[in-house]
Amino acid sequence: MKHLLGQIFRSGKFLFGFVIFMIIMLTVLIYPLLVEYPPLKTISRGTFLPPGIYVNVYDSMTFSESYTLILDNAATKRIASKLNAEDRQAMKEWLVIGAELPEDEIDVDDTAKLIDLWTTNFDPTVRLPGMTNADRNYYIRLTASLDGLLATEGATVAVANEDTGVLEEKYVIDQTTYVNVGEVPNVRVLPLGTDNFGRDVLTELIKAISVSLTIGFVAGTVATTIGLILGLVSGYIGGIVDDLIMFITNLFTVIPSIILLILISFSIGQEKRGAFTIAVVIGFTSWVWTARAVRAQVISLRNRDHVNLSKLSGHSIIHILAMDILPYIASYVVMALILQISSGILAEAGLSILGLGPRTTEVPTLGLMLNWALIYQAPLLGKWWAYFPVILIIALIAFSMNLMNTGLDQVFNPALRD
């Protein structure tokens, strides 16, 4: 056993897959210990907040010490964030066509002059040929954002007096005022932003991975158990039992398993579809390959001398199957289990995309997250953080399991070694 394990871990492919899988597993186990946010809590108003560090503006104004830093390019950066190269080009185009200014007089890099020209010449009521409403709104928004862009004074924060309602000056914030993020009491890091319901995607994703892995594990165990038992019985007993089991197996091989899954999940109904139920259903529809392969191996084993000896000694069928045949196919069964787990995770994701996954209120799964992202059109809106990490994780899990499987295969079947 020790020797075998040593051999397995010396296989590069297995090790690589194992490391990827362990990284995922450890993240799933450790993250909830460090970060105790509830995974399905809506934390943002508005949907699809982009990834980043969210700093409470009120706190940074009132509760934190403020510092003054004199940085040279602060003003340039401030202007660039409001007025990028594309905006400048668009302004130039408008000025050339709308105000009929000569093109060479407009320098898009001279911000002060450009804004000056813009404020004197831009007229939102003028409709240029070929201009859509969206273009018009863009120019109006652009004009609004230019307001106060070149100002050098700070801003004043005023608070309404509780009794009179009169605004009283409270703080003056200079353009050179900074706060230290570490001193602001309310800072929330959202490495993957929020999803369509305003939930923290990373926290949700970690929880979803653990639920999906559980689903995969349950589905894989159910499928492997059924496949193993049917394969053993069919291969060893043979005859009419074999014919019957093979008939059923062949039947389920050609009927797409996703079709059976769809039919069953739909019939179970939204109310009764928990994560566990879905996992068991997936297991019940994906045992055929295991059964086929186990049967083939058992057939090649059943006339070996040690099996015949066992038969002559009067051992029961169950004893023979468990003690004389199972050890020879154990390695294969482990490999089949690994593949079944990864295909179980994929099956759950597929079902959920069709809206037939586990019911949506209790736990997230990888498939449900994809389903939500698709329903809210995240791919079309460019909200990559809502769907890409999910696809990446699914692919990584499948990839790591496949690698482990290939590695094991090479250890157990020397003929396959490179």
Partner: protein
């Protein structure tokens, strides 16, 4: 030819039996479930209705419509009669369209998309795999990790990634549909062009997911054959390399055809998701609308149609296999 005829009839018999079994499964599976599908439909129909007798009336109406109060055998007879007449009832989500009508308008799209895509993916995958086995070296070292990577991306993931890259970011292709949303199907060149443009992304995403697994399988098959004794013997005899390679790939091909027949069900399942992501007007998208709309008759009919299509594909492959593999003839002649 007599041997082949035996093989053909044996396969035909198996096809018929599988068809009947699939048909029965399609009928019986939903009815074995603990939940009452009629109750689920009525709950959806009666949303917002507070009047209990009203709900009861709807329920009884549906019980009568679906005949769930009759014994199972009688229901089955009615179902068979209706299906044989080509009558699948009314679609709930798209009422008053009949299920027939919905299926008829989507089945053509699915066949035109999936059949060529799976064939092209299979041929490309096998060619690449065979080349990798024969050329070895850098080609192999580049192709294999790529194939392993491709074969691990789930079908829907591949479709979403292609959608985002080529339709949303690069804007080379439209994001969804089978043709321009402002068009009515006709024979004009504009419409045909629109169909071709909309066809590309779903087509290539199915091809890509098919390539990976096939290339890996073909490579290991071909390596195995290239090292077989008959190849060495043929080399000793001085037979030309070209000729040997023909033999090798023909032998390596046979298991791949069996593999295609066995995995076509899985492939069709994956291709359905490509349709869904691109809102291609085929059966996959129909399944999605049916499932979101709780449209029971439509789901049942779509799954039956997909199963039948898969069975026909498997049957066709096995017939083809009988032609190619000399061992089939030999086995039948015994």
């Amino acid at each position: 030819m007599k041997e082949y005829r035996n093989y053909f009839f044996k396969k035909l018999g198996w096809f018929a039996v599988t068809l009947v079994a699939a048909f029965i499964l399609n009928f019986i599976l939903p009815r074995l479930m603990p939940a009452d599908p009629v109750a689920a439909i009525v709950a959806r129909m009666a949303q917002g209705q507070t009047d209990a007798t009203g709900v009861q009336a709807i329920y009884e109406q549906y019980i009568e419509l679906f005949a769930t109060d009759k014994p199972m055998v009688e229901q089955f007879v009615i179902y068979v009669q209706n299906v044989l007449r080509g009558d699948f009832g009314y679609s709930i989500a798209e009422y008053p369209r009949t299920v027939n009508d919905v299926i008829r308008s989507s089945i053509g799209w699915t066949i035109a998309l999936q059949f060529p895509a799976i064939i092209v993916g299979w041929v490309l995958g096998n060619t690449l795999g065979a080349l990798a086995a024969y050329l070895k070296g850098n080609f192999d070292r580049l192709l294999m990790p790529l194939s392993i990577f491709l074969s691990n991306i789930p079908a829907f993931g591949m479709a979403i990634i292609m959608l985002v890259i080529f339709a949303v970011e690069l804007k080379w292709f439209p994001v969804s549909g089978g043709y321009g949303y402002d068009m009515i199907p006709n024979n004009s060149p504009e419409f045909v062009w629109s169909v071709i443009v909309h066809y590309q992304l779903p087509f290539w995403s199915i091809v890509l997911i098919t390539i990976g697994g096939q290339a890996i399988g073909m490579r290991s098959m071909a390596i195995y054959e290239l090292n077989a004794d008959y190849v060495k013997y043929a080399r000793f005899l001085g037979i030309k390399d070209r000729k040997i390679i023909q033999y090798v790939f023909r032998n390596a091909m046979l298991p791949q055809i069996t593999g295609l027949a066995l995995s076509i069900g899985t492939m069709v399942g994956g291709a359905l998701f490509a349709e869904i992501i691109f809102s291609y007007p085929g059966i996959g998208t129909t399944l999605l609308t049916a499932s979101l709309g709780g449209d029971y008759p439509l789901i049942s009919a779509s799954t039956l149609i997909i199963t039948i299509m898969t069975l026909i594909a498997v049957f066709a492959l096995e017939i083809l296999y009988g032609f190619i593999d000399p061992r089939v003839k030999a086995a039948q002649a015994e």
